[in-house]
Symmetry: C2
């Protein structure tokens, strides 16, 4: 057993209340007794039990985080930023991964709430009214990142719709005659929250509707590599593949490399997210840089405001950046 404040009180011949005042820099204590208590505490290498403190104070100084998976570059960068920022304020992270499993997500949120984390940051896979209601009934503050659930629940992300239109503008400026939006997650739209991809899709379509003379279509299959083969063999028009995620773009590039298809000479490619490993890839992938670090930092800032009972703006859109690259 480790040493408690009671032990210190006994040894110093004072009450636990006095020990508390000394240890936590509270007023109304004799400097000499304070000094003595601090000395004894140090000598005995006293460490307060933070579990007990949490129970007494009703705060744990922890933030619960629920995301898909941190092998995913995007979430690795996000969680990294959240941890670094939270630490500055004395908060530690309870991080949990739902692996796109809606049931698991609910279980994890329940568990974190039961552990009395002071707030939650989630990138949800669930969606819909029931989920919205569930979140609203939580007793703790919450910030949603990426996949918006409703306009009523605090959200931080980028304006995916506008970013997607910008992506299409960039591609169009390169005189492609045919643009394909590659977005496998659309396949899962029934069961999963794919808000961000749906916004990107809308932006893609709206932008192209306004432009004449460019054909476009959508690939919404996880078998997208074969789809790409089929599309490219079928048409001899200058085609660009606009991918709703850098990872899909990288997979396609790897695939085309095997087929000796040259990028961007024979086909153009654009991604979305601006994950950090693009640094190592040739040709440099055109993409939308999603400021994930900033999003993480803002999420922590806003969450802490909520924890303190302060108010925040319900929707916070961070500026993204169009990265030209060499692949389109």
């Amino acid at each position: 057993m480790s040493i408690t404040s009671k032990d210190i009180a006994r040894i110093c011949g004072v009450s636990r209340g006095t020990v508390d005042r000394a240890l936590n820099n509270k007023p109304r204590i004799n400097p000499k007794t304070k000094e003595k208590i601090l000395r004894v505490a140090r000598e005995l290498n006293y460490r307060p039990d933070l579990v007990a403190r949490s129970l007494a104070k009703g705060e744990t100084m922890s933030i619960g985080v629920v995301v898909f998976d941190i092998r995913n570059r995007y979430f690795a960068q996000l969680v990294n930023a959240i941890e670094t920022e939270a630490k500055k304020y004395g908060y530690l992270l309870n991080i949990t991964l739902q692996g796109k499993d809606p049931e698991m997500e609910l279980r994890l949120i329940d568990n974190l709430v039961a552990r009395r984390v002071d707030g939650l940051i989630i990138c949800p896979v669930n969606k819909g009214d029931a989920f919205e209601k569930y979140l609203k009934n939580l007793t703790i503050p919450l910030i949603v990142i990426g996949n918006m659930v409703s306009h009523d629940i605090p959200f931080i992300g980028i304006d995916e719709y506008r970013a997607s239109r910008d992506a299409v503008k960039l591609i169009s400026s390169k005189k492609y005659k045919n643009i394909v939006f590659v977005c496998p997650p659309l396949k899962d739209r029934e069961k999963e929250n794919i808000y961000s991809h749906e916004e990107r899709l809308k932006g893609f379509i709206d932008e192209l509707k306004e432009r004449k003379g460019i054909r476009y279509e959508v690939v919404d299959s996880w078998d997208y590599l074969n789809e790409v083969d089929r599309l490219l063999s079928r048409s001899d028009e200058k085609t660009a593949l606009y991918c709703s995620g850098d990872t899909f773009a990288l997979e396609i590039m790897k695939h085309l490399r095997k087929r000796n298809v040259e990028i961007p000479n024979q086909v153009g490619i654009m991604g979305f997210d601006g994950i950090d490993i693009l640094d190592y890839i040739t040709p440099r992938l055109a993409t939308i840089y999603n400021p994930v670090e900033t999003i993480g930092i803002k999420a922590v800032e806003n969450l802490i405001r909520l924890i303190k009972g302060e108010s925040i703006e319900k929707q916070l859109f961070i500026e993204y950046k169009v990265m030209e690259g060499e692949s389109v």
Copy 2:
């Protein structure tokens, strides 16, 4: 305020002890009262307060993790594996990042201990006797990953020395006349624990000592790109760059690509770790595959054994794999 077991007791007209028996499937309770309590609990959406439970039971069902940084692929994969495995046993993770700051590492470990995590998994940046003693004095079980601190402290990793010799064997088999070990972390050997890199260095040297006719040298500078330029301009022998980490290899490949140096025709490159993004890189990098998922899983398994008071083997070496690639 949320509802407590006391409320349930009051409503059901029983004592808190009985409520506990019902809720936690304990014996010696009348099935009918149990049923009633469970029903009421469900109706009121009762959730036990896990902080209170932790205080009462003396266990938190959390595991503390301290690593460098999870933008680093290696740690992202590691933490991902640890989380997934720990969750199976009902443990959540408190993950913290020390960013190679020794002071920070100590503060984080202290904090986690104060939060009464049931065990720790760390990849330490500290080293030496004082640190070893500090770790031994911790009141909770601990597993060290990667950077061994001492043979007395439970460790999981690969046999870096042997792996490094195997790497050199692979390179040698390709008839290089000059092999350069690129290992910037050596620069920090005074202040940081770079056990794994030092083992790799030893393996490199020992293997080459046994082979005649191959020149070798070591680059231990963070300015390694310029060093590489200098080395390559100086010699016209067939040279291979053996990097103590895939990231260094990727940086060099990117650098050489700009200089239009062909790999492996003009210079060979080999990495270490086998991080997942190599999938997207051409030419395929030769490397040592470090089974980080397995290491994470084993770390959790062993830690839980320690938590339960069971015994484990102090040193656990997982099998690595030599990946031939096309870069050497």
